[in-house]
């Protein structure tokens, strides 16, 4: 078997193991959440008897380990369960399958993450390489200063600044990222422009700095000096000799930021009223809607594991020493 393939299979196996551990942690931490779904949903009508009956109906009166194995078993069969909320005090059951709740939100989140990545990753790479190329020039310093400034501000602040300049004072983009399943592709891009820009400003510095650092780090190695002695230009040295060896750390940082785009953008979603998965998870935590929280947490864990796997594979493929281990 090809060594890369072996690694992928090994990593996938490890990933599944990690998921099991994560599922246990998710379950345990939700157990630790204060409060009770019954009380949260029944509100003014929460008496001891109604809460007890409600807990029984939801199976919350079972011991934790039984609930854990039931949940894991169902997830393995592709059943994420049914949302708790929707079973209002009146006893009406209009709860929805978790999948139906999560799927459209996840789709929106992936769209926004994809769009941001399409802007941010090339931009970060370009800036990273050029700043390494013109190290310590005014260009380098100003790019560094600018990106570090945008990453230093909280997301909501960057978002409001963009709204102020690009929506309020100069009405170019809408301040509401109001999209639905029927929104056409280009219209969708137009409407999600501000959230995507906000996220770009927030993540570009990290990736760009890592690219720059990784390249500069290599510039001190003997083989780069050798390349220089052969008369290669600075551009050639960086693009042909340094960059291929720098891919591993860069890929790791990019993967980390992409994962962040999927799991950590709830603030941006709230500011732009973007129906993404982060908002869904926060709402569910507030209302103690455990099945939805668990499903979201699991999706987030899978995102991290997959993206890290891809980053590792890229690191291995681009590095001969890892590709052909002794």
């Amino acid at each position: 078997m090809h060594p890369v393939l072996t690694t992928v299979v090994q990593r996938l196996g490890l990933g599944i193991l990690t998921l099991f551990v994560v599922s246990f942690i998710i379950f345990a931490s939700i157990e630790l959440l204060p409060g009770d779904f019954g009380q949260a949903v029944l509100g003014q009508a929460a008496t001891e008897e109604t809460v007890a009956a409600f807990r029984k109906e939801l199976g919350l009166d079972q011991p934790a380990y039984i609930r854990y194995f039931e949940w894991v078993g169902n997830v393995l069969q592709g059943d994420l369960g049914t949302s708790f909320s929707g079973r209002a005090a009146s006893g009406v059951d209009r709860s929805r399958p978790v999948l139906e709740l999560v799927a459209p939100r996840l789709e929106n989140t992936l769209f926004l993450a994809g769009m941001t990545a399409a802007i941010a990753v090339p931009l970060a790479l370009f800036l990273g390489i050029t700043t390494a190329l013109y190290r310590n020039s005014i260009y380098d310093r100003s790019v560094n200063a600018a990106t570090l400034t945008t990453i230093s501000f909280p997301e909501f602040f960057v978002a409001y600044i963009l709204i102020l300049f690009l929506a309020s004072l100069n009405p170019i983009f809408p301040s509401l990222a109001n999209i639905d399943a029927t929104t056409e592709f280009w219209d969708r891009i137009y409407r999600t422009a501000l959230p995507a820009l906000t996220l770009t400003l927030v993540i570009v510095a990290h990736m760009m700095r890592m690219t720059r650092a990784a390249i500069i780090n290599l510039l001190a190695s003997p083989y780069i000096q050798m390349a220089r002695l052969t008369g290669a230009s600075q551009r050639e040295v960086i693009l042909k000799h340094a960059l291929p060896n720098a891919w591993a750390p860069i890929a790791t940082v990019i993967a980390f930021n992409l994962a962040y785009l999927v799991v950590g953008v709830v603030v941006v979603e709230v500011v732009f009223v973007y129906p993404g998965i982060g908002q869904l998870m926060v709402d569910s935590v507030t209302s103690r809607d455990i099945p939805v929280v668990q499903a979201c947490a699991l999706i987030f864990a899978i995102t991290y594991i997959l993206l890290n796997l891809i980053a590792d594979v890229i690191g291995i493929i681009t590095n001969p020493r890892l590709l052909h281990p002794k």
């Binding site: 204060p34 409060g35 009770d36 009380q39 949260a40 029944l42 509100g43 003014q44 009508a45 929460a46 008496t47 001891e48 809460v51 949302s83 909320s85 929707g86 209002a88 009146s90 006893g91 009406v92 209009r94 709860s95 929805r96 709740l101 459209p104 409001y160 709204i163 929506a167 309020s168 009405p171 809408p174 301040s175 509401l176 109001n178 639905d180 029927t182 709230v270 500011v271 732009f272 009223v273 129906p275 869904l280 709402d283």
Partner: protein
Amino acid sequence: MRKSDFIKAQERRYQAGAIDRRQFITSVIGAGLAVPTALGLASSVEAATPNRGGLFRWGMGHGSTTDTLDSANSENGFTLANGYCFSNHLTEVDNTGQLVPELAESFESDDAKTWVFNLRKGVEFHNGKTMTSADVIASFQHHMGEESKSAAKGLLSAVESMTADGDNRVIFKLATANADFPFIVSDYHLSIRPSVDGVADYNSGIGTGGYILESFEPGVRSKLKRNPNYWKEGRAHFDEVELLSIIDVTARQNAIMNGDVDVIDRVDPKTVALLSRAPVLDIMELTGTLHYTFPMRLNVAPFDNYDLRMALKYAIKRQELVDKILLGHGALGNDHPISTANRFHNSALEQREFDAEKAAYHYKKSGHSGAIQLSTSDAAFAGAVDAAQLIAASAAEAGITVEVVREPKDGYWSNVWNKKGWSACYWGGRPTEDWMFSAAYTDDTEWNDTAWKDTEASTKFNAIVRDARAELDNTKRAEMYAECQRLLNDDGGTICPMFANYINAVSKKIGHDDKVAANWDTDGGKAAERWWFA
């Protein structure tokens, strides 16, 4: 004809389209108006004339992923407004607060027990079916009976039978007389939907309303387009309507400022002054029925003592609470739950003010000593803890020690409210006096959070509420309900210091009637039906 009458008449003709702008301006100049005045008048008449067309975007601080189209489950402002867009009811509360027939053409009763509703003829549902008495009966049955999970079930518990008299008349027989029954059928849960074989279809969102539902994403948005076949004249002026759930208040206010929506509800009282400076919008503020209370339970000492209750009622600075908790966006309460938005509000009742002397007098008379505990939490309403602190401070001025007990939010409604002697609470308010009283003040409701049942005044109160329910003469009812409010204000266990306002921000592009309903937020939840682009 007097000059002003002539101008009024011309305005009406212009509004109705009988004359054009040029003719209108010439005629009023002819009547002696200066040219700029005439031009201004023409524009103002235009603004007040409903125009057809446009996409109306409504940003709402409500909405949840569990919302449905079944109005039996409707429990927030989003589903309420959505339902009002695509469906109608037998009656409606119009923009002036009056009850008017809607899908019913008229209604009548001789004894308040048998109610006859004559239905409008030829009204069609969005699927082309003509509405008949069978649909009305099936729709009401959806909310009745053992099986029903409708939130309006309790409202209809007195209905003994419904019979159809031909296609266009329904007769309701009630077990106990209720003069407010026509009001009850205007409740937003009781929308009329098409039926097949006696079962009303509450899931598809088909109604007789001014807008046809195109798509509905629970907790996100609802899209509707105008019903070209709408039976109601002079209503539903927009081509398309989009209801958007924007829970975050900053995002909502940004959206209206940037013109991404045309109206928002629930403006933050803290920033309303800043928002009102935005040139593109107007702030619309109305006092509704939402009120905050501090119920004292008469079955817990020392609140069983009339003088102690009176001492506390005099020890509260109501204006200060309105100014500091509602930041001025509210109205004074008078220790009873009936707001100025209700029909039979007792305006003759003297407004109770802070009076340290009277408070001290009653306190001394009560013979109580020691600290009085007031349980509070922001679960009751935003600012309830601060309000309790203010109460403690003003009571101290009258020599009464109030100890503020901060309770956990979790379980507030199960462990504190309706259990502890004195706590903080809110009531969304009810459209009729009888409804409000029977929700929280009569002796037969579980939610009687003051346990006001055994005093002489409460016995009298309960008897009057029961009599008033069966009374059809509105003058007599007004007197009866005035007496109820007086009894509550005097002997009752609740302290009701304030009514909170509905605060909306409305785009300047929007036109609406001078009078806007206050029975719910945003013109009674019917902005899409009543407003237009000026």
